[in-house]
């Protein structure tokens, strides 16, 4: 290594760290977020270039240099291609895939570094093994998450669930035994240990994500994101690289905050999500007949025509039906008539944190018209008409009113307090939670049966006739 470049690299690492911190700060501000992303990207570019200079400056061209440059090129092309091609509805899959790449990198790094640390007798070996394990589990877990989000999940039978728990325990047990053996005898080297731990963790990652329910995916993505950060931070400690520690830990913190936020929004504990337990035990009130009032498109259009303030509550059903654009068209029509339109978005409306906001923004809906749950609940009674499209559990008043409901305690959009409610639904099916929606029974709630996309566009054309 070229010693004279060490101070320079240290300086650029400090600058990179500051850029990461500043970039993340700006990413939290809607006005400056785009600049924040560029700043963080700049910090990354600087860190990579200065590392390359540190390692290869003044050296004759080596295989390592060629391989690294080639890999940087290949990675950049693949990364650009994926990022430009992905549809906004598939963002959760994309993030899962990127989680997998980060985890995979941490895992491979552990295996590569193992020979270097074989003679060390300190904590760095344990750190290396831990980061390898977390990296490997994140890698395989994220790949499974990717496939689950792509709709390849099937119903997970109870027997399989128990088998999975058992297998997970056995894996943990083997991991502990192997780790202990390494410390007792010198015959089992660090290399073997790291590879064994990596293999076990790969399997563990699969078993970790496999049983998790589709509705809990936002939590899982956030958690896996946090784990890639933590693995990066640990590798940073092992290699004594501060910019890696800072980058990794910041990401870990972001992931943990989002994870707990998602858990709160779904009224689930992290433990119950991770164990794959689905809350649908209390079928006590499930078979009650509910008297619903259905309405027609023209009646709804009439209501909208006389409303001063309309709230739209989108759920993932809206995105599945690709109805964002029809929604935006309806909003335009209403606004031209002088009606105020706002969107009310529940934290878990999409498949990942903030997903619904992105999907609406894609349909060129102004982000300043998107209210979050608390803002909307504070002035719910101002809304003359609330149009619910593709959301179900997140507007179910049972969460507040029925103590026996599995939804009880979940923060909801308190739609029932609006003056009138029209809910566009395909049929009488339940939401993810599998419980009847007591909103249907309310005096001020009517159901409009039909496909979201078609209903919204016919509403729009009916409205033009008034």
């Amino acid at each position: 290594m070229e010693a004279s470049f060490l101070p320079l690299t240290k300086l650029t690492y400090i600058i990179s760290s500051l850029l990461f911190i500043g970039g993340l700060r700006y990413l939290g501000n809607p006005e400056k977020a785009n600049r924040g992303n560029l700043i963080a990207g700049l910090g990354m570019g600087l860190a990579v270039i200065s590392t390359m200079v540190l390692v290869y400056w003044n050296q004759s061209v080596s295989l390592g240099l060629i391989v690294t440059l080639g890999a940087l090129l290949v990675g950049s092309i693949i990364g650009l291609f994926l990022a430009e091609k992905v549809k906004m509805t598939s963002m959760p899959q994309m993030v899962s895939l990127f989680n997998a790449t980060g985890g995979g990198c941490a895992m491979l790094l552990g295996v590569m570094e193992a020979p270097q640390y074989a003679s060390n007798t300190d904590i760095s070996q344990i750190l290396l093994a831990t980061s390898t394990a977390i990296g490997a589990a994140t890698f395989s877990g994220s790949i499974i998450a990717y496939f689950k989000l792509n709709g390849m999940s099937s119903l997970y039978p109870r027997m399989a669930l128990i088998a999975t728990y058992g297998a997970r325990l056995i894996l943990l047990f083997i991991g502990v035994i192997i780790s202990m053996l390494v410390f007792i005898s010198t015959d089992l080297g660090l290399n073997t240990w790291i590879i064994a731990i990596g293999m076990l963790a790969l399997t563990y990652g699969v078993l970790f994500v496999l049983p998790i329910g589709g509705a809990d995916m936002p939590v899982v993505i956030s958690l896996l994101n946090a784990l890639t950060g933590i693995a990066t931070g640990l590798v940073g400690v092992t290699l004594d690289n501060k910019v890696m520690i800072i980058g990794g830990v910041l990401v870990g913190a972001a992931g943990i905050i989002l994870t707990s936020l998602m858990c709160k929004s779904m009224n689930r504990s992290l433990l119950s999500v991770v164990s794959g337990v689905v809350k649908n035990d209390s079928k006590a009130s499930a078979h009650q007949e509910i008297a619903v009032k259905s309405t027609s498109v023209s009646q709804t259009a009439l209501k909208l025509a006389f409303a001063k303030k309309v709230g739209i509550v989108p759920g993932f059903g809206l995105a599945v039906a690709q109805a964002q654009h029809a929604c935006a068209a309806l909003q335009m029509e209403l606004e031209q008539r002088g009606t105020q339109v706002e969107y009310i978005i529940h934290p878990v409306a999409g498949r990942m944190p903030g997903h619904m906001n992105v999907l609406l923004a894609e349909a060129e809906i102004d982000y300043e018209k998107m209210l979050d749950m608390d803002e909307a609940n504070a002035r719910m009674s101002d809304f003359d008409v609330l149009l619910i499209v593709g959301a179900n559990d997140v507007v179910n008043p049972a969460a507040i009113e029925d103590e026996r409901s599995p939804l009880h305690g979940m923060p909801i959009i308190e739609a029932h307090r609006a003056k009138q409610i029209v809910m566009i639904k395909r049929g009488m099916s339940f939401g993810y939670a599998g419980v009847p929606n007591t909103l249907f029974e309310k005096e001020n709630c009517e159901l409009l049966f039909g496909e979201a996309d078609k209903m919204l566009s016919t509403l729009c054309s009916e409205l033009k006739m008034f």
Partner: protein, 104 residues
């Protein structure tokens, strides 16, 4: 393997432990008040930052002994994965944030 004493370990890593604590609190403070509309770009953007692990892979390749072709192929894959994470993450975040911006 020799046993290591907790005392020695602590002296060596004392600084790192303080450092970790400070960064954790910095991270929690930086991110705790992000409005929900920015949660997706925050996640994809921070995801890209975790690609900083690429630095480790670059250094690791350079330190491999000559002729370690197994190591170098692992390194190649590691650098490719890290670069995908970084380039893809920042690009997709930029795409998302541009959609938020062009309105008005």
């Amino acid at each position: 393997m020799e046993s290591f004493s907790i005392g020695e370990w602590f002296t060596e890593y004392e600084e790192a432990v303080y450092f970790l604590f400070l960064i954790v609190f910095l991270g929690l403070a930086l991110i705790s008040n992000v409005p929900s509309i920015l949660h997706t770009p925050l996640m994809s953007g921070s995801n890209a930052i975790s690609g900083v692990i690429l630095l480790g892979a670059i250094v690791s390749i350079a330190e491999l002994p000559e002729g370690d072709y197994f190591g170098i192929s692992l390194g190649f894959i590691a650098v490719v994965l890290g670069t995908i994470n970084i380039v893809g993450g920042f690009t997709v975040t930029d795409r998302i944030l541009k959609m938020f911006k062009k309105i008005k």
